[in-house]
Structures are given as C-alpha cells and as structure tokens.
C-alpha cells in the first residue's frame, strides 16, 4: 500500500520500470476508457469520496454528539482557526518534521555509506551483507516492532543486558518512558527498516558507474575523495534525489512504529507525531471535525513534498 497504504509498508517502493510506452494503436476507440473504468471507480469510491467528505468534515463541528445522531454544525474555518492557534499542533508538526529529517538523514547516510562500502568488500562478505539487508527489509513492520520491543525490554531485554555488561547500569531501565529515549528507540527501528531499500537502490545505481571514467580520473590524479565527489556522486545524483525524497515523504507519515510504541508504554501526548495525533483526536477522541482539519493540513504538507518527486518520475517517463 504504497500509497495510501502501503507505503505503510516500507518495502513498497514505487519502483517500477517505466520504458517509454509504444502506443501503436492510435485508432480512436473507447476501449482504453473501458479498461480504466474499474480503477477510476474504485479509487473514486475509496479515496476520492472520502477526500471530499473530509474537506466537508473539516468545516464542521463534528464531535461525539454528532456521532450519536445530532446533525453537524457548519463552523466555517473555526476548526482550522483553533488548530492554527493551538500550540500543540505546532509542537506535533515541528516534532514530526524533526523526526522525519533525522530519520531520513540517518537512513540516507547509512544506506549510501553501505552501498559505497559494498563495492570494496570481498564477494563473500558482500553477499552476506546483502542477505542480511534483505532479511531486515523483508520483516513485516509489526513483527519487527515486537522484536525491537523485546530487545529493548525493561526487565529481560538484550540491550539492557549488554549495556550493563559494558559497565553502565541499565538494569531495569525503561526506554519508552521519557520522550527523547522513546524517539531514540523509534529512530533505531525506522532506520533499521529503511536502510536496506536505500542501500540496494544506490548500490544498483553504482554498478552502472563506468569503470573507465573512474580510471581516467585516477590517472589524472584524483584521490579517493575527489573521485567520490566529482565522479561517483554526480553519476548517482538522480537516484539519490528520488530515494532521499521518498525517505522524507515516508518518514513524515510514520505511524505504526510510534503508535505501537505508545501503546507499549510511551506517553502519547509527549510523543504524538502528525499521524498518531490525527488518529487519537478523531477515532480515539471522537473529534472528527478537528482531526479532519489536521489531516487536510498533513495532506497539504505531503503534496508540497511530493511535487518534486512526481516531476522526477515524469522526466523519466518522457526519456
């Protein structure tokens, strides 16, 4: 559900071969429209209709009373007004942005670093690393969350055990209690899950790097640093941009990790990101009008970020 969904699942990268379509059948025929009909109807029903309804909802006072049958009241921009003046929304937004940038940055750094390193490993070690990355990539989100919770478990977790062995006293240390350490755990999990996609994609791009070009640069006296800067990175720049953008978009909407860790003992108020805030406001708290307004805000934020991605994909499409 990459999109709306699936993206939930990280592995779902909208990665797809997009050769220029050779549309030979120029004949005027209604056939393609018939073929698109099921998709258009399906998406219209499951995404388009809710979107319209959500915009409407965001202009209404729709709380618990309405849930029990009272007609909703039109309040114009009141929901947006009270949200924009509410310090908490800005706290959550800022928190989401910082979390997103830290996670996307770390993921890119580790993923690209690993991809570059893979070129210098012995074949055996490289295969080992690739197998390991595939395993981490293939793990279902919820399963990896349970394992990481178990690793960070207060009483019997391996992390506390190892840290205590190393001399720090972490016996009975609770990782989820304080927001900063909560986000540390969340970051570890998110980055662990996201690095494989970046490493594989960038490594694949690196394999297309021309050896002659590198050799020529070397003969001309370029050291490893300048070869990286002037030959390697420019070649893989388009891939880096697309992958980096995807990370930002994905990490801005992280929900499952935060939600499950909150349920496992974090304080929701101190750790809410945009996604969990919308959920807790609406489905948790019955404030549907307000949560619809936050959701619209989040959609706007995503569209802003998505524009360059769409442009990049279309440029590929044209080429």
């Amino acid at each position: 559900m990459s999109a709306p969904t699936t993206a939930p699942t990280r592995p779902t990268s909208p990665v797809a071969p997009t050769p220029a379509p050779k549309a030979r059948r120029v004949r005027r025929t209604p056939l393609p429209y018939v073929f698109l009909l099921p998709t258009v109807l399906g998406l219209g029903l499951a995404l388009g209709y809710p979107l319209v309804r959500q915009v409407v909802l965001s202009f209404q006072d729709f709380g618990l009373a309405q849930q029990f049958g009272q007609p909703p009241e039109w309040v114009g921009l009141d929901n947006y007004g009270s949200l924009l003046t509410d310090g908490y929304l800005w706290t959550v937004t800022l928190r989401s942005i910082v979390f997103c940038l830290v996670n996307a940055g770390l993921t890119m750094l580790l993923g690209v670093g690993l991809a570059l390193l893979m070129r210098h490993m012995s074949t055996g070690v490289r295969l080992l690393v690739q197998t390991g990355l595939l395993l981490a990539w293939a793990m279902p989100v919820v399963a990896s969350l349970t394992v990481w919770q178990w690793l960070f478990d207060t009483q019997y977790g391996v992390v506390n055990h190892l840290l205590t062995q190393l001399g720090a006293d972490y016996t009975g240390h609770s990782w989820l209690l304080r927001p900063l350490s909560f986000f540390f755990v969340a970051t570890v999990i998110v980055v662990w899950m996201s690095v494989p996609f970046v490493a594989f994609t960038v490594y694949a791009a690196l394999t297309q790097l021309s050896g002659e070009l590198l050799e020529a640069a070397e003969i001309d006296g370029a050291g490893p640093g300048s070869r990286l800067r002037y030959v390697v990175l420019p070649t893989i720049r388009p891939v880096l941009l697309v992958v980096g953008l995807l990370q930002v978009i994905w990490d801005l909407r992280v929900f499952t990790q935060i939600f499950i860790l909150q349920e496992a003992g974090g304080s929701a108020r101190d750790t809410n990101l945009l996604g969990t805030y919308i959920y807790r406001l609406g489905i948790g708290g019955g404030e549907f009008g307000m949560s619809a307004a936050v959701a619209i805000f989040m959609l706007a934020l995503t569209v802003l970020l998505t524009a360059p991605y769409v442009r990049a994909m279309l440029r590929q499409e044209e080429s």
Binding site: M1, S2, P4, T5, T6, T9, S13, P14, V15, A16, T18, P19, P21, P32, Y33, F35, L36, L43, A46, L47, Y49, H120, M121, L128, T131, L134, L135, M139, P140, L145, T146, V147, W150, L151, H161, W192, T201, V202, A204, T207, L209, P238, V239, I249, F255, F259, G275, I278, I283, F288, A292, A295, I296, T302, T306, V310, L314, R315, Q316, S319
Partner: protein, 279 residues
C-alpha cells in the same frame, strides 16, 4: 568495480560489512531464537543466545488460542480478496496505459503517482466515516475496499512496466499469422506477462498481509482482527508480556513474508534505478 581496492580498504570495508550484517540480522535471529525458548529462559537475567534443546511450547500456546486462527482467517480473506480485485483492475488499466494512446492518459499516470504518495493517515478519518455510513466497519469487505485502493496505484504502475516490456511487434506478428487482436493478446502477450503478474501479486500480498494502520482503523472489534492487529495487542505491559509467545507469533507471520519477498524482490527493484541513472 573492475578495479581492485587496496588491501587496507578491503579489510576495513569487510569489517564494517560484518558489523552491518550483524545489526541487520540480529533482530530477525532473535525473533526466531526466542520463539523456541522456554519461559524460564526468557525470563532470566542472562539471555540465552542459542535455542539448544528448545521447545515448541510457544508455538503450541499460539495455536491453542482461537484468536490466532481467527485472525489468520480474516487476514487470508482480506489479502486474497485484495490481490484478486487489485490485479484484475490493475491489469486492464496497465494494458490501457501501455498499449493505447488516448486523451487523458498522461493525467491518469500523474494522478496515480500523486495518489501513491498520499499518506493513509491523511485520509483514514474520513474512510472510517465512510465505512461507518456503508455499515462496512469490522467487515472483510470494508477493509478489502480500502486495501484495494491503496495497492492499486502501485500495482498498475508496476504492471504497466511489464506490459510495456512485451514488444507489440510480437502481437503484430501473431496477427499476421491469422490471430485476431484479442487472440494475439491472450496467446502471445499474456503468457509472457505471467511472471510479472505473479511478482506484482506477491508484492500486493505482502503489503496487505503486513498492513497495520488501516486495519487498526477499520477492524475495531476484537473478533475481526487481522494478524498484525492480533500481534500488536499481544504486548500488553499490564499483563506481563509473554515474549516467547509473541516471538512465535511474529515468526509465524514473518516467515512466509520473508520467503515471498526474497522470491520477488529482484524483479521489483531493478526498474527505478536503471531508469533514473539513464535520465
């Protein structure tokens, strides 16, 4: 990659590679390891690193409760329904987009790309309200509906690459040999597309099987849980978490996914980068 790295570089790269391997695999290993440990080994101040003499008790616990099997049933129905519908819809749409030139084609492709980026969290409130109106909350049909919408854009996007990969000349040749256009498509193109359809279907399966957020929103009743929901409610701080049982459950959910994923991943990933580097 033709150049051989200098010895110290290689040793450093190999060393860091081994570290990366351990960090990447350890959680997966730990899940499987813990799933075979007895309760007293789990609840012990020193971890048991290898499950020698392990037991299947945790797996027995999982299967002993109806909840796991109920959730498995729901998950299978939802993922099965999602893949069938999504593949069918996506297949015809992919043929339209890659075999025909028509007005609106480009806007359709752009819309797909944009939709694919919409976060679930941005719409699940009103999807919840919608399903509530349709009386589809806590039903397989309701969850399938929102799942189809979420896998469809990706599925079309991928399939159309596979369709475009089969040269139209092959169909033309078949038509010259006397096939009708429809026959040519079904006898020539479709068989060549089979691997792509399978790979895309498996990918859709993985997504739906793993999905958490929409399931959480749509399936609020305990008896309508999917496997990920069932697993997430297992960790309850107040009850004293049964980590062995959870790890057994996690392994049961993860292992089929890992196998499927390894089978199709190469096919799915190669595209983007190839195109992007060329551009």
């Amino acid at each position: 990659m033709s150049r051989t790295a200098s010895r110290p570089t290689r040793i450093a790269a190999n060393g860091l590679g081994l570290v990366a391997f351990v960090v990447a695999t350890f959680p997966v290993y730990w899940m499987v390891n813990s799933s075979f440990l007895a309760r007293n080994e789990i609840r012990s101040p020193t971890p048991t690193w290898v499950p020698f003499g392990g037991s299947l008790d945790n797996y027995r616990t999982v299967f002993a409760t109806d909840q796991f099997l109920d959730a498995l049933k729901i998950s299978l129905m939802v993922t099965g329904g999602t893949i069938l519908v999504a593949l069918l819809f996506a297949f015809v749409a992919a043929v339209a987009v890659s075999r025909f030139r028509f007005k609106g084609r480009m806007s359709f492709v752009v819309t797909l790309l944009v939709i694919q980026m919409i976060p679930v969290e941005g719409l699940f409130i009103s999807q919840y309200k919608m399903l509530e109106t349709f009386e589809l909350l806590n039903t397989v049909a309701g969850l399938t509906l929102v799942y189809v919408a979420s896998v469809l854009p990706f599925t079309i996007w991928t399939l159309r690459g596979f369709v475009a990969g089969v040269p139209y000349e092959l169909e033309e040749a078949a038509m010259i040999d006397g096939c009708s256009r429809t026959q040519a498509f079904f006898r020539v193109t479709l068989p060549l597309l089979a691997p792509g359809l399978v790979a895309t279907g498996v990918f859709g399966f993985i997504q739906a099987w793993n999905e958490f957020t929409l399931a959480l929103v749509v399936m609020t009743r305990e008896d309508q849980r999917t496997l990920p929901l069932w697993l997430s409610t297992f960790t309850d701080v107040n009850r004293g978490t049964d980590w062995g049982g959870i790890m057994a459950g996690s392994s049961l959910i993860a292992v089929p996914v890992i196998i499927f994923f390894l089978a199709v991943q190469g096919r799915m990933v190669s595209g983007l980068t190839a195109g992007a580097v060329k551009g």
